[in-house]
Symmetry: C2
Amino acid sequence: MAEKRNGRQTVKIMNPVSIVSSASIVGPKEGQGPLRMYFDEIIEDELWGEKSWEKAESKLLRETFAKILNKGKKTPDEISYIIAGDLLNQCISAHFGLRESGIPVFGIYGACSTMTESMSLGAMLVDGGFADNVVCITSSHFCSAEKQFRFPLELGSQRPPTAQWTVTGAGGVMLSNQGTGPYIRYVTTGKIVDMGIKDANNMGGAMAPAAVDTIMTHFEDTGLQPEYYDLILTGDLGAVGSRICEELLADQGYDIKERFNDCGLMIYDRKKQDAHAGGSGCGCSATVFASYVYSEIQKGNLNNVLFIATGALLSTTSAQQGESIPCIAHAVSISRDFD
Amino acid sequence: MAEKRNGRQTVKIMNPVSIVSSASIVGPKEGQGPLRMYFDEIIEDELWGEKSWEKAESKLLRETFAKILNKGKKTPDEISYIIAGDLLNQCISAHFGLRESGIPVFGIYGACSTMTESMSLGAMLVDGGFADNVVCITSSHFCSAEKQFRFPLELGSQRPPTAQWTVTGAGGVMLSNQGTGPYIRYVTTGKIVDMGIKDANNMGGAMAPAAVDTIMTHFEDTGLQPEYYDLILTGDLGAVGSRICEELLADQGYDIKERFNDCGLMIYDRKKQDAHAGGSGCGCSATVFASYVYSEIQKGNLNNVLFIATGALLSTTSAQQGESIPCIAHAVSISRDFD
């Protein structure tokens, strides 16, 4: 078996791969939420001076990329790869946002699992000696997502309570073979899980089994127990999905209650802000991790974090053709110390 | 600098990473073309017993995946990762086609550069000791692509001579740390190149500068000369793009004429088959490589091949908003011998 493999879906990162910088830019609604102090920038309106929501989303990603470089004190020449993707058809936010970068790009698509998919690939490329510095970045935008996936905003369609609110924001990190942590220690890559759920207004419920599958596999592959982690953080299961996730894991003998949170529950004040079941979108886990969570690890308030972004791999076409929703979740294990 | 990096965009694969099997399934039109003897299966009609073109495309990918496993004599348990993507919104062909595989999946999006993007990532994951066997696979479908990107087929819209014909087909390979070649020796990852071309009916012309950029960078990074290769094979530049590519490279002092071909020019008989400027789509380079080219390397008729799939990273939304077309090209260098 390949030397770095631990069990069926996990690899151990053998060399120190540090997360040396992170950045996030969010929309006005996210900027009114409980994490507002942790974001690098809050834009004033959802167009940000652009002519379309798609162009605004590209700008979010482009400007966040620039901040990641600045904060990591690197020039574009020093970046071996960018690994990026987003929710828009053909991933135009990422590709248009990075077209002037002059840096080799791997485009990925993992729906809202994009942040940890890119960190997984990035960690392996750095660990394997293929890259010095890799930027992992993604974005989403409430208006461009609603327009593409649901209804015209102007229609004012009512949403069921299980629906989640797509985060307007871009977030990302720089991984490096230099640096002093936090370190990516394990990568557990998800398989596609489809439990037959067809309700595109309950993506959290659809994604929960994929998160459970990856989290359980992570514990089995590594021999670690939930207690090892200060925080087990899912991407965007929201209120419905995170409850299902916690219950399903408890049924399997993994009690994560004390250390479990979900980016979709953290980004909005669900009592004061109208976000239904919570945040979603690639930008949800990306901005929450790149702001508050990264900062808490750096301060030493969190030592070991299991970060599991979750993606619902449907399209409007698949939904219209009556298909169920295949989902995926990718986990990265992050530690303050390399030991 | 990271140990395996050669220059700005290239890594050298240090351990033997073999392409141990390949498979391709194509549509009826491709099955009437000059490579018909090399495909594993030719389907009789574009629905292949499914209720939609999208479901047929997923089936193409799923069945091709099964053939890659069979021909490589591996069970799903032995596959560390699948790296897959396609052209459909949210990559539903790949994700639905692989949802029963039970194997960790990295979804990627590189438009028609997907085949070499997946081989690039796969080669690094195997070389780095993260994976034993990786399946790299992609698909496209003329009908689902026309429906999504252009006009309803029923409309019978006329197409300009520069337009290319999206290949109906899926192709892929299995990479392994065991095996006796052919080997992936270098990976040159493209940066995004946008020369301002806005004509979505001339994608070959738009993509040619990206191919030129990656090919030139490959020679600069490795110190190799065009003469090293028996075949320099672009993905789907077609008649217009491949002429531009050859001319731009000649202007820069690289004469590739004697050893240059393009998958888009190889898959159809352009005199007898109505395919305008040639084939395109993720499935074009994937099926041509996985059939004829792989077979010629195995027979010893080709020793060293530079394979550069090219992608146009536009969407219908970006085109409608007047944006130009960002493009990318990823190259893998493949050799019969590991020396």
